[in-house]
């Protein structure tokens, strides 16, 4: 293997990238775009959701109850309607996420005694939102009911101490339950999948499609030199993008960074090798750019998005799928990123993810080299 020849191939590839302004722009703009998209676009902490109310009673008591909902930061009472269909229509339209219906005999039952039910109609198309809404509404209701009970007992000569349990929750690693702190570290894995697998597989598939790869092969350059020379520029770009993303995460979105930059660089380099090898392999087996891009999407970007714990918790998936996530390297990288950014775990704790990632890097590099050799023969 000659370094001169390797660098010559790399130089040619760099020229390709520099000449094509669009490819160059993806290298710089794409990481920034993805960071901003997920940083601003994803917020799962719901506040001020639109609520419609239908107060059939219209009494002092029912208004008191509604005030409790109004003063809760999670609800925003946008409208009071005077018909049941007003609530159902708003849910159908999507104008309201919840409708509170207070029965006509609400205050009467409160003074006479006995249980009374208030209805909460919730748009559960989005189960996550619905779940949180129901939880918060139950909380408001229990607080109200407990007060009513104690008051009534006092009025009837029974002095009783109210029972109160306070839950003091501390959320570690992400103290403000900030969605962006949870999402953004994982975006690095997405960016690298795109740069590594997507872009590489397309570039190389193009050479096959146009026949210029055969020309390259007929020169004295060896297979290894072609492969390394082609991938080296993308490796550098990928690492540059990691640095850009980390800067945006820390500087712009104020995601905590508690680990060391060295482990970030090390694990990113490993993952970069993984995606580059995958991209190269795909371009060798898929003849056309269309096929290469679709397959690259399917085996790198999609797993990085869905099966890595980037957004959806792996522990909550069906057990069979949990096992499948283990064969996608993105899982280990995303786990490393979250630990490095949020937890600042010591190296010993990272080993559980670093070891499989290293193994994947070696294995895939080998597979990519083999497949390329075979294609040449």
């Amino acid at each position: 293997m000659s370094l001169t020849r390797l660098l010559a191939v790399a130089k040619k590839e760099v020229l390709h990238i520099l000449r094509d302004s669009r490819s160059l722009s993806i290298v710089i703009i794409m990481p920034v775009t993805l960071m901003l998209l997920f940083g601003y676009g994803v917020n799962l902490d719901l506040k001020g959701l639109p609520v419609y109310v239908y107060d059939q009673d219209g009494s002092q008591q029912s208004q008191d109850l509604l005030k409790r909902f109004q003063s809760n930061e999670y609800f925003h009472i946008v409208r009071a309607v005077d018909r049941y269909s007003g609530v159902t229509r708003a849910l159908d339209d999507g104008d309201a996420k919840m409708g509170i219906v207070i029965p006509w005999n609400f205050s009467q039952r409160l003074s006479e005694g006995g249980p009374v039910e208030v209805q909460a109609l919730v748009d559960a198309t989005d189960d996550n939102t619905a779940n949180l809404l129901i939880g918060y509404a139950q909380g408001v209701m229990q607080g109200y009911s407990s007060g009513i009970e104690i008051d009534w007992l006092r009025k009837h000569g029974q002095s009783i101490q109210p029972v109160s349990v306070s839950v003091q929750t501390r959320t570690w690693y992400n103290e403000n339950l900030d969605s962006s702190a949870f999402i953004i570290p994982g975006v690095l894995a997405l960016v690298m999948s795109v740069i590594g697998a997507f872009l590489t597989s397309l570039t190389i598939a193009r050479e096959w499609e146009r026949g210029s790869m055969e020309q390259l092969i007929s020169t004295p350059v060896t297979a290894m030199e072609i492969m390394l020379g082609k991938l080296l520029p993308y490796f550098v770009i990928g690492m540059f993008d990691v640095a850009v993303c980390a800067l945006i995460a820390i500087g712009w979105f104020h995601v905590p960074f508690r680990g060391s930059f060295l482990t970030l660089a090390g694990s990113s380099a490993l993952f970069m090798i993984v995606v580059l090898a995958l991209g190269f392999f795909v371009s060798v087996i898929a003849k056309s750019q269309l096929a290469a891009s679709q397959i690259a999407l399917l085996i790198t970007f999609l797993p990085a998005f869905l099966l890595s714990g980037f957004l959806f918790a792996i522990e909550q998936m069906p057990v069979a799928l949990q096992w499948i996530t283990r064969i996608f390297p993105a899982r280990y990288y995303v786990s490393l990123l979250k630990q490095i950014f949020l937890k600042g775990s010591p190296a010993a704790m990272l080993a559980a993810d670093l070891l499989p990632l290293t193994a994947f890097a070696l294995l895939l590099a080998l597979v990519a080299t083999r497949s390329f050799h075979k294609r040449l023969e």
Partner: protein
Amino acid sequence: MLGRLKQMLIKEFIQVLRDKRTRFILIVPPIVQMLVFGYAATFEIHNVSTVVLDQDHSQESRDLVSRFTSSPYFNVQRQLTDSRQIRDLIDRGDATVGLEIDAGFAQKLRKGETAPVQVIVDATNSNTALIASAYITQIALGFAQSYQTDRINRIAPQMIEQMPSVSLEQRPWYNPNLSSRWFFVPGVIGSLTTILVITLTSFAVVREREIGTLEQIMVTPIRPVEFILGKTLPFFLIGLFDVSLIALVGTLWFQVPFRGHIYVLFTGAVLFLICMLGVGLLISTVSSTQQQAMVTAFFFIMPAITFSGFGFPIATMPQWLQYCTYLSPLRYFLVVLRGTYLKGVGMDILWPQMAAMAGLGLSLLTIAVLRFHKALD
């Protein structure tokens, strides 16, 4: 005119369907993605690994812990003896929730003071932490409620019958089991169609330009309109085929109910496909290589999906971003998809979405055709 168009259509279909890999792309990746999404995409939480440190050892504290043990949302794995263990287990990721009941819990309850429960949640996944915290609060409130009822029952059993109490009757509409799958499956139909139709359309035109066959076609007597129709109609039909395929898999495999009318969904799909064809054509007019087309498509697809309300509620985005979401055709199609699947609503509710898609689609297509004309002249 019709004769030439027919020939063009035949050529396009042969070109798309002759290649084994392209046939593969049209069928396998959409199905795989549908299945993976259906299983992986969930914000539900079940069996969150929980550890408990009960330093009170009272009837009350045991009662509270047993409420966690019997809850499907928590999986109480260990009872600890030392508060340092909690820190260690959460650091290592072996537990997500740590529950700590200090000595004196029962005494405070009996005296009517506020009894604290310390909760530590690993918030690296802020969504899991958010929902888990909501459930923890619900369980604690439920405990307080029944403790109060018990106390009243002891002191004044004759009064409990007459005592007023208010409860919330929750009715999660459209998705009574609060299943994440029901939320995501209709959304996946929309986003997969976006990805597929845009890439296919833009690639089809750019490919001809890249390999030089576009010039060959231009010297034939075919008119630009016929060429554009010939290029887009096949992908329109393929798009419809794929929408039906994905929808069928989603409905039959994941048992998501379809409550609306097929014709409403079909109308929405047609309008949406027009938008996507417009975008695909537009991309092809600004790209000269397939790689450029891919990159440009990616820049459109990512924001279009993120801002569509596909997985992340639009209501929690910053206001300026909420305005941007109106530009994503997918936003409207998702309302149609979820409206017909889960809500079972018809045109009377969905017409604004249809109108928006028709408007966007026509303008996109007009701009694309005008630009295309120019590019051909």
